[in-house]
Symmetry: C5
Subunit: 349 residues, 5 copies
């Protein structure tokens, strides 16, 4: 966390906070209506695109927030509030939606699985939705919106027939679908740990459980506030979202709800696993101690008997008996047999 790096600066001074994850600023513009589609790479925001008289939806998808100058230029061109620019370049935002009268500002966390190592990647996406334009900002190149672009290109689904509001919805829909996928991945891992726990728990199991717990918390931290955001979209923003899109928004809410429920369930399971682990370790330990103690307990009285006849008294009649030794051996066997039987009867063995 490096939120405090800019302490003492005036509010509304955009400073990049987060880890630099891409080389250069890059921007793709997709312009489409239900008939045409046009895609181009742009080097920076320019006054050419500010005009609002074009028809169709324009989606500006920008990479590399650390290039703060580009973001500032964007702010100037489209008259965006400095606090919004500050929020865009600070990747420690809480998912939120803000209504600035002539535009909406939306921040959410994109979660997806790294193809290489299966780790969860957590990337902040900021979206500004203004008239028929959608601006999306993120630091890392490569995202989960490729299927959405494909749908726009191939005109699949409703997306090409409707406005920019549906594009924003479609982005959120993919984000939420990825939450579900990530949750499912974690769920599989929880099951794997559960199986391992039942068979052969070792000291790494504890660490695994804590890692899972912490991952679940991280996902929840991304999902939970998005639910508020979507709920506000449903309640308040009837002026930007088409009534027909409203049904889709409620569908999104359902999916978020199911995800949260799954996460709660996973958290509960993880806690149970922890309890199970601790008690299974403790029982195993107890078992070991019990067996060992029983062995000692059997041999200590026998050793005592041997000790008696190891004494050097001159007058010890048993020592002179011809079968004294074998008698004592016999007594020892009987004593140990009685003890084993006693322990067996008590179910200690």
């Amino acid at each position: 966390m490096s939120l405090a790096r800019k302490k003492g600066m005036a509010p509304g001074s955009p400073v990049f906070m987060g880890k630099k994850r891409s080389e250069h600023f890059k921007m793709t513009l997709i312009k489409y209506d239900h008939e045409n589609i046009e895609e181009k790479e742009l080097a920076e925001f320019s006054a050419d695109h500010v005009t609002n008289d074009e028809k169709g939806v324009r989606w500006f998808d920008a990479i590399a927030l650390h290039d703060v100058e580009k973001i500032n230029k964007f702010g100037e061109l489209y008259n965006i509030h400095p606090l919004v620019l500050e929020d865009i370049v600070n990747t420690h935002q809480r998912p939120k939606i803000e209504d600035f009268e002539d535009y909406f500002f939306l921040v959410f966390k994109m979660l997806y699985l790294d193809q290489k190592n299966g780790k969860i990647i957590n990337e902040q996406v900021s979206v500004i939705f203004k008239d028929n334009m959608v601006f999306s900002f993120q630091e890392r190149e490569g995202d989960i919106f490729e299927p959405l672009r494909e749908r726009i290109r191939k005109s699949k689904g409703r997306i090409r027939k409707v406005g920019a509001d549906y594009l924003v919805y479609a982005m959120l829909d993919i984000v939420v679908d990825n939450y579900i996928e990530v949750t499912q991945k974690v769920s599989e891992r929880v099951e794997a740990v559960e199986k391992k726990l039942m068979k052969a728990p070792d000291s790494s199991t504890l660490k695994d459980i804590y890692e899972l717990k912490s991952e679940i918390m991280d996902i929840k931290k991304a999902v939970w506030p998005l639910r508020e955001v979507v709920s506000r979209l449903d309640r308040e923003t009837t002026d930007i979202f088409d009534e027909k899109t409203g049904i889709y928004i409620r569908d999104l809410q359902d999916h978020l709800f199911i995800t949260i429920e799954s996460l709660e369930g996973l958290r509960d399971t993880t806690m149970s696993l922890l309890d199970l682990y601790l008690s299974s370790i403790s029982f195993k330990m107890n078992d070991v101690m019990k067996v060992l103690t029983i062995i000692s307990t059997i041999f200590i009285p026998l050793t005592f008997i041997a000790g008696i006849y190891g004494m050097n008294f001159e007058n010890m009649p048993e020592l002179k008996w011809n079968y004294g030794y074998f008698l004592v051996l016999g007594i020892m066997i009987v004593v140990s047999a009685i003890m084993v039987m006693f322990f067996k009867k008590k179910k200690w063995l």
Copy 2:
């Protein structure tokens, strides 16, 4: 959970999600008013039945959600929103009710006990309620609505005298009655585990307790959101539910409330059982260790005494005493008697 299988597809594309549990699509139509009743098997949804000018209630009961084409055809014929169709074929829905102006969409979980192995079967039922028609969808053949069909056939109770709203209520009523039955079954199993725990807890008890806890959670997950659904039915839907049905809806709410309270109580009991199990195991273990340690503690000083007279010093006067050996044996008996008495007095034995 396989909610994410369709990631990247456009919203509103129905894809079956769940386990295939029946061979073919099957549909039964029951048409009744307070005088006549007619039952027939239909192969698929057809335009013949779309007309609304018939009197009486028509109940379409469809099996096999995996036949997505049939569901799509249903959607086209009756003008159902694609998101609803998507929800019908995805068996991971949260119980909910949605108002689509000219129809209501209701999803709930049907819980019942498998006759063969006593396991709880959890099956999603989707109901669409449109004018005087009720459509119900589920994947698995065989359900809990047979007594309801019997009541319709034999004209028992109010059901034949009143409208389709009462049919929806009657379905929910049976579902809730089954929740109560399932809860009761779990309650019996909790009591069985409790008895076993008091008599002879073994290592399977822990697993039993966790299984019960998890089953209780599963039932709660089905029951809890249905309460919201029924509460919304009570509050908002006076336009579809007859005022007289309203009383029945409130009765349903009471039953759900009692079920939830029972579940909460069962959960509490299960947690107590867990605590009891852990402490009983720990006490038993402690008892074993205590007895074993006491045995060692008695014999170790005796062995020491024997050790002393096992030493080979040339000048050990006791060794030459005539009754030295018997004196030492006596001392040993006295020492052990004192120790046993001491332990008894301390209530350690």
Copy 3:
């Protein structure tokens, strides 16, 4: 719990659920105004008493719910909703109040101490309040309303001067007073367990604590929903309750509140007792183990010394010393004294 016994039947079919606790149906009618009072036993509900033109309050107090026919007849005569009849004969209701326009239906749990064994008796009472008539139903004969009947007979307090609404209040007042008494009884038992725990906890203490915890839960389950009921009486029912009775209702609410607070306090105390018990047992155990281990620890090195001089080497000079034996004994005494002092200094002993 046998709520599910009637699964599959039409809603509103009264079936007795609970344990049969009285032989025959019995009914007492008390008719009173501020001048006259009349008491008679009735065999069943009859049309004679349906008329509403009589002055004064009439209280019908019926025993034996398992006689469902009698209840059904009551329903027909007074035009009571079938669901209400079903609730009356099902003794697993949650305390509640329902407004049926021309009558009120009230269910609550009567808790009182069994004179013989001091156990808590939990009995469901259903009350229907219609015009100037009050109908009360319960399964078991013998109740807590005797002092109320006495007050009516002897014209003590307000009861004879005011209407049937005050009678309903007076019944609730006695019920709540009994809750307080029962809570107090449990409180005394908690204190007794606490004292026992401080002096000499044994294995039955744990069971006692769990029983108390479960009793507290049961009382809470009766008290908590009644608070809602009384709160609704206060808020909504100004049309049936005289304004002057309103003050009494609020007094009732206070008493319920105090009871709930006491119960919460008792639950907290019980949980503390459990913790105290577990840690006291564990500490006692630890103490035992510590003392036993210290005894072993002192004797094991001594035994080792004895073992050395029990060796049979030919050349062991000490063995030939004249006072070797006494020297070794002295060394043993010194070693054990040092160990005891060390343990004392470390406060282990």
Copy 4:
């Protein structure tokens, strides 16, 4: 708790419930306006003082609730509701405020430290506020209002310039100041226990912690509902409280809030202390066991070696070696040194 003693009596029958703590009924009347002040002892409530045409504030401060007759006379003279009288003489009330149109009834708990033994005294005070008269009732003589009387006598602060509403506020203010003092006292005791715990925890520490926890709960039980009372004073009673007094009421709320926060903090600290105590005891125990076990572990193999050469075989060559004995002694020293080093390296010692 003896709330149930009056079970079966008509509501509104005042019966003293609590412990008798003063000999006789006593009452002080303080009559003041901003110019004059008059104090006198009264033997009982009398019709002389009922008249309302006097100017200035009159404060009747009565001791000894067990003299129920005096309270009943008060009720008759001033036309107070029987339920209020019942609440005054029952010292198990929950702090509350009630509006009876022509008077307000206020109950709260006065907490203060006993000068002798430092224990917390919990005394119920009932206040009736009617026109320009304030009646206060409590069982025990001696209270915390002396500084308030002094302020009235010496005309310090606002109190003599303003009405009876400010007097009620001033009483509450002193009560809340005493809550803060008592909380602070408990806080000091918590710190003392903490220090003791860090230095030398003994078995009384556990009891101390539970006592503190229970005291904190008791204070909270007095403070928490008073906050509701004060909040209602702020919200609803603008007709009795001067607007200028309103600011003081909000100040009171702040103080109550701070007290509650302190109590919450203390409760948390106490719980932490409990955890710390339990783990410190457990660690100390573990340490003892570890050292003891290590001692045994070192000597048991040595004793075994001694045992070998204590065997009486005829052919044991080592026994005949000249330096066999010293060799074995050397081996024993080496073995024990290796073991000690091993344990040190493993950080077990």
Copy 5:
């Protein structure tokens, strides 16, 4: 806590409560508009500055609350309510905002890190905001507002162009930035403890964890109520805050929200660390005990065998065998090998 020191005094009597931390009363006045700026040291509040006809913003920054006379004079000059003066000099306030019609009173906690020892300094700041004047009060000299003064002097950011409301916001903004910094510091310390825990936990780790937990609680106690304050600023005070400042206030809320979330996360992590610590200590202990017990368990049977052949029976044939001794040694080696193998197979070793 010394809140109770003034018990018995009239409300609204300012008494300094807290620790004296500065020598003399000191006050700086900064007067600025967007063109001019003037800074001067003042010895006390004087009538010269009461006039309101000056343009621009005036910020009076006063040090040393213990000089209560100065504060009283301020109260007289500017007509401030005595309760406000009391709150200013009592440093145990809960963060709050109060609206006194012609001025606002704001209390909050300033948290910052001591440059010398890295400890968290917690200092109460009271702010009165009246017309275009801002009065700030604190006990300790030296604060976190220096960057703000610099911005005013150098005319950086919006601050010189806008009114006194923005100055109040800017103060809160710096305070919140410091909360974030302090939280981050604590977060780093949590990570350090985590690393230490994974490598080599010792007895100080427990104390570290409890200290961290307590620090997190302290920060939360400052941050949590400020969120309420800022939320009230956002909702209610549109008359004092410019609409444009409103956006900044909401930004502040976001930052507070993120801080609270971080604190919650840290608290969770700390609790996990505690659990991890306790179980790691317990596992380590168990491991030690297991190894030691295994050593004893191996040697006790061997010692028993040695004990047998140490017996002095006259007729013990083995003793006369030529290789009896070596046979027994061999048996001992075999027995111990079998035991080690058995323990290894059981994974106890």
